[in-house]
């Protein structure tokens, strides 16, 4: 019986994952937010479900994918991104009460006159604030944002960055509120209809006015009034929600609502999509789930005829958002890591824990792979297209390598490596996702699946394996210096693992780097241009070569090599993130100051570990003499 406990634990977790693997349904008798969120729109250059737009918008404003209801609604509950989007689209004055803006910087809170501390009476946590709370101070915020944006990126203070981030969030918020209707509209369906009704008379009046003849001013004024509102919407450039009438599966021909309004004024017919959205608005404001559902279904029915693939894409991506595979992976990696950590400290007694961890990890790897593949299918791209997906892929590669090591040595080390690498890289990915859409379009020069699939994948595997070697070396030092569990045998196998992985890393980083050079030769006409990112990759190659030659030449013994491998972590982190922070070269992603602090912290820890590795063995708790 006892030997099935690991299987049982793994099965429970598998059930937890599987239970979410279905299209999210809506509660009966409620506004069907999920059905609404499946509708496709075009934003950020790609077709995506409203669900993704909602989540990414909220992530940028709030750093979460949900919002708490503010004071006034008892009991306080959590709104999903889709539910929040509904309010943002159709009932702006309600959305304005939701504490959606995450503001932490105390000086910024001071500028905006916000409460510093949490206050249970108003459900305020002291971190999240509503539009209504900041609206009176927008002029002050704008002035600060202007000043801060003139400051060079690398010399901005934390306050400057907080101001700019909030200012960006404010823009995003206003853009979202003006996606379907002008934000001040109280009954868009009726206003829209009367606008359409006024068009013929208004056009007549406009013609008469131009010809200098008498004209009726009322319809013309109404037309002008609506078009002025449309101009405001145009300034904000919200998402395109109106699909092209014919072959709606193409990416060209999508329109924003303001563009449709101008077309209507020219005498075009009303697109069914706008009519449907307006009807949804009326139903939403009236709290009428039946009418809302009918409007969504009618629109879906029309789309199903002209562009069935769009509906399917929307549903697929929504399922992926809902499943949150990488978030679940984080939890699974932690669980597996904890199990195997306990096992490593007392290997004799708790073999069961290693089995549990191994099974959990196999499952996690399966989920991680599934998530990766799902993303690739959604994007129609190889796995790595930006910094976010590189983090996901490095974690995946490290996890696979760890499992291979575990298969060979069966001592828990591989599981420990897999779970910690998986956990760390997914946390990094999670933070990178706060920047917005992670499936953004590729610039022309990067738009080649061949090189993305070869150079980028191979070089990322190079990063991955160098990190694994470094992680093994870190384990060697930590277990040896701080615990008694590093036996002579274990030390030997760890250093063998490090060697094997470094060979692998040298191979991949070299091939990846040279492939990158060939890509550069193909697109820019030079094989090597000493660009910052190229140099970063070259440093990894050189460092791995140095490790191998130092070993072959007998210049460094076990602990020396371990130190070299730990320093490999520093080199790789520099290449992965550091060079991007210099703000130079072709791969620059701007100065990421928050990440800079973390990078420095990471480098420091690695140097400290190297320091420990060079302590004479008599100071080590494990007996290596």
């Amino acid at each position: 019986m006892k030997k099935y406990i690991p299987h049982l634990i793994a099965a429970i977790f598998a059930l937890w994952v599987a239970s979410d693997w279905r299209t999210p349904n809506d509660r009966a008798q409620a506004i069907p937010a999920n059905a609404f969120a499946r509708l496709p729109v075009l934003s950020n250059g790609r077709i995506q479900p409203l669900d993704s737009l909602a989540r990414n918008t909220l992530l940028q404003i709030c750093e979460k994918q949900s919002v708490r209801t503010g004071p006034g609604e008892e009991p306080a509950r959590s709104l999903s991104a889709a539910e929040w989007m509904l309010e943002m689209f159709f009932q702006q004055e309600l959305a304005d009460t939701r504490p959606a803006f995450r503001i932490l910087h105390t000086e910024l809170k001071g500028l905006l006159g916000l409460p510093m501390e949490a206050d249970p009476a108003t459900h305020s946590d002291g971190k999240h604030f509503s539009w209504n709370q900041i609206r009176d101070k927008l002029a002050e915020l704008r002035d600060e944002a202007r000043r801060a944006s003139a400051v060079a990126e690398s010399s901005r203070t934390p306050f400057d960055r907080a101001v700019l981030q909030l200012w960006n969030a404010v823009g995003l918020y206003m853009r979202t509120q003006n996606t379907v209707q002008p934000q001040d509209s109280k009954n868009w369906e009726r206003e829209l209809q009367s606008f359409v009704d006024a068009v013929p008379a208004g056009r007549e009046a406009a013609k008469a006015q131009q010809a200098g003849q008498p004209f009726e001013s009322a319809p013309l004024e109404q037309l002008i009034r609506q078009l002025q509102r449309a101009s405001v919407m145009k300034e904000l450039a919200p998402a395109m929600i109106i699909p092209p009438p014919e072959s709606g599966e193409s990416k060209t021909g999508w329109l924003r609502v303001d563009e449709v309004l101008f077309n209507l004024a020219r005498g075009d017919t009303m697109p069914p999509a706008l009519r449907a959205y307006a009807a949804m608005g009326t139903a939403f404001r009236g709290g009428d789930p039946v009418a809302f559902k009918a409007a969504v279904e009618r629109y879906r029915g029309e789309l199903g005829q002209s562009a069935p693939a769009l509906l399917a894409k929307g549903a697929r991506e929504q399922l992926f958002n809902h499943l949150e595979p990488f978030y679940k992976c984080i939890i699974l990696y932690i669980t597996a890591g904890l199990c195997v950590m306990i096992f490593t400290l007392a290997p004799g007694k708790l073999g069961m824990l290693r089995d549990t961890a191994r099974l959990l990890l196999l499952m996690t790897l399966a989920l991680h792979s599934a998530g990766l593949i799902y993303r690739m299918v959604l994007e129609g791209r190889p796995p790595v297209t930006n910094l976010y997906s590189s983090a996901i892929f490095i974690g995946w590669g490290a996890c696979v390598l760890g499992m291979v090591l575990e298969r060979v040595w069966k001592n828990g080390i591989g599981v420990l490596v897999s779970s910690s690498a998986g956990f760390l890289t997914l946390i990094i990915a999670h933070n990178l996702a706060l920047g917005g859409d992670t499936m953004e379009m590729m610039r022309a020069v990067l738009d080649t699946n061949f090189w993305l699939a070869t150079h980028v994948v191979v070089v990322t595997l190079g990063y991955s394996s160098t990190f694994v070697a470094g992680l093994l070396a870190v384990l060697y030092v930590v277990l040896g210096v701080f615990t008694k569990s590093l036996t002579q045998d274990m030390a030997k196998s760890l250093s063998k693992m490090v060697y094997g992985i470094v060979c692998f890393a040298a191979l991949f980083s070299f091939i990846g780097t040279v492939l990158g050079g060939i890509w550069a030769d193909q697109s820019w006409g030079r094989f090597w241009g000493w660009d910052a990112k190229e140099n970063g990759a070259l440093m990894i190659v050189l460092w791995n070569a140095l490790f191998l030659h130092a070993r072959w030449g007998g210049m460094a013994r076990e602990r020396g090599l371990i130190s070299l491998a730990i320093f490999g972590n520093v080199v790789t982190a520099w290449s992965w993130f550091g060079v991007n922070m210099l703000g130079i070269g072709l791969h620059s992603y701007g100065f990421m100051s928050a990440a800079f602090t973390w990078l420095m912290l990471f480098v420091t820890t690695q140097l400290v570990l190297i320091g420990f590795a060079s302590l004479p063995v008599r100071f080590w708790r494990s007996d290596l003499r």
Binding site: G45, A444, S523, A532, W543, L546, M555
Partner: protein, 514 residues
């Protein structure tokens, strides 16, 4: 002795030290790009033998460091020596040999590229034909004779380097000798009319300012006017502080001071100085986007001169030359720039001599058009222009395509449709060049570089192709293939051994050397 040297050359220790130095060099050379720009950092750190610390360097630059060539050549020697010394055939060693042979090829290829490759650009508007490409930085001084009956012109050119050396320039086909009087690596050209116009305006504005505060009576009305605009009011407040007024009401303060002979003089002087400084500051602050505008550049120049305490007298401006287009412009030397996106505008003043007699002084710069020179009844056009490389074939830009993702500014595709015509070979065909799809022809490679649309040409598309001649272009491909093969061999060879060994090692022996 020689044995010890040989041992040193072939030593693995040297290899490791070189790898360490290389890693450091790459790191430092990357950091240096932040301050020095890509191009300069490349020349200084990677394409050099030694790097010396120099004035104005950031704190981390070491007094002296080995440059890329030194490390690269040392690696090459070390590698070759080690192989000659230890070469032995065996399946186990094949991987190592291949890997190192590939690395040698890569190093040599990079050397060849450094020495022989040449980058230039071909820019055209839709419908235009080009049979030459232009250098990005290098300039040439040309003298172009009259066209013959086939419409072909003789072009005599001198490289920018030769001009910068300020030696007399001669050519058997030219009936004159060129003497370089002045040369500037970077400079700006401003038309005299623009500078005098701007300086007249500024002088008037400053005189008005002077008049406003010429008498104490002017203070109160000026304060009332200033109170209406935030910026002026701020200047007033600052000035008032210097005479001991700290209240917010500037009009009331102005009244008090106007009635106080002890303070009013100082206040007027303060206000004049502050508004003058503000005005000159506004003249000099030209956003980089506006630097193409000549008026803006003139404002910057005039403002800067006055701020530095010099004067600009519209009637006494010194034209750049006595002949040609230079008579109507000022030629101002600037500090040379090194940044990635910055470009120097070299210029020179040259005096022409025919049979020892001076014909006058001409100013030449890529910013000035070619200028006519009459010598012995023949007409030449002289000028500075980006160095041109002529080809025996021509390209015509048929059409440009520039797509972005809908609703964004993210470029999706740049593509130029080119008509390639080689009369000698009877070739005439159309080719598409786009990002990641270059055209290789005639020993050159043409890459899509930039794309735009000009108002000047009636909204026609423009395209810039990067033209690269690199005889060593194939080496990285071969090198990469050989190293990959070698490493894969070595890796698989070891993996097989590794997997078939016992899993928990016994005994104390270190793992065998590979």
């Amino acid at each position: 002795m020689s044995q010890r040297l040989w041992k040193f050359l072939t030593s693995l220790k040297v290899t490791v030290v070189l790898l360490l130095l290389a890693t450091l060099l790459v790191f430092l050379g990357t950091l240096a790009q932040v301050n020095e720009g890509l191009w300069e950092a490349q020349e200084r750190w990677f394409k050099s033998y030694l790097v010396f610390r120099r004035e104005g360097d950031v704190w981390w630059v070491p007094p002296v460091f080995l440059g890329g060539y030194t490390i690269g050549f040392s690696m090459l020697i070390n590698l070759l020596a080690a192989h000659i010394n230890r070469f032995q055939f065996g399946w186990k060693k094949v991987g190592i040999h291949l890997t190192h042979a590939g690395v040698v090829l890569l190093l040599l290829g990079q050397l060849v590229t450094d020495m022989l490759s040449r980058e230039s650009f071909m820019r055209f508007v839709e419908g235009e034909t080009r049979s030459y490409s232009e250098a990005h930085r290098d300039v040439e001084l040309v003298a172009i004779g009259e066209a013959d009956k086939d419409g072909r012109e003789r072009v005599i050119s001198f490289t920018g380097k030769a001009v910068s050396r300020r030696q007399p320039l001669q050519n058997a086909e030219l009936p004159f000798e060129i003497k370089v009087l002045e040369y500037a690596e970077n400079s700006q050209v401003l038309s005299l009319s623009s500078v005098s116009e701007v300086s007249a305006q500024l002088t008037t504005a400053l005189a008005t300012l002077e008049a406003k505060y010429a008498t104490p009576e002017g203070l109160v009305p000026e304060a009332e006017r200033a109170a209406e605009t935030e910026g002026r009011a701020a200047v007033w407040l600052e000035a008032l502080k210097t005479v001991g007024e700290s209240g917010k009401d500037i009009v009331a303060a102005a009244r008090r001071i106007a009635a106080d002979p002890a303070r009013e003089g100082k206040l007027r002087a303060e206000l004049k100085a502050r508004f003058r400084e503000q005005m000159l500051g506004a003249f000099q602050r030209v956003p980089p986007m506006q630097m193409a505008n000549e008026r803006m550049r003139s404002m910057k120049y005039v403002g800067g001169e006055l701020a530095a305490g010099r004067t600009v007298n519209p009637d006494a401006l010194q034209p750049a030359s006595t002949q040609g287009a230079g008579q109507r412009v000022l030629l101002l030397p600037l500090a040379a720039v090194r940044g990635m996106d910055e470009q120097n505008v070299p210029s020179a003043k040259v005096e022409l001599f025919a049979k020892g007699t001076s014909l006058g002084v001409w100013a030449v710069s890529p910013e000035l058009t070619l200028q006519e020179v009459q010598v012995e009844g023949r007409t030449f056009k002289i000028g500075f222009r980006n160095e041109r490389y002529y080809q025996p074939f021509s390209l015509t830009l048929v059409k440009t395509t520039h797509e972005v993702y809908p609703g964004t500014e993210i470029p999706k595709n740049f593509q130029s449709r080119i008509l390639l015509e080689n009369k000698e070979k009877g070739e005439k065909r159309e080719v598409d060049i786009s990002m990641n799809n270059p055209m290789r022809y005639g020993g050159l490679t043409f890459y899509q570089h930039q794309m735009g649309r000009t108002e000047a040409t009636g909204g026609k598309g423009t395209s810039a192709l990067q033209v690269v001649r690199n005889p060593g272009w194939i080496t990285p491909y071969l090198g990469c293939a050989i190293v990959s093969l070698g490493m894969a061999w070595q890796f698989l060879y070891h993996l097989v051994g590794f997997l078939s060994k016992p899993r928990t090692p016994k005994g104390n022996s270190l793992p065998a050397k590979a």
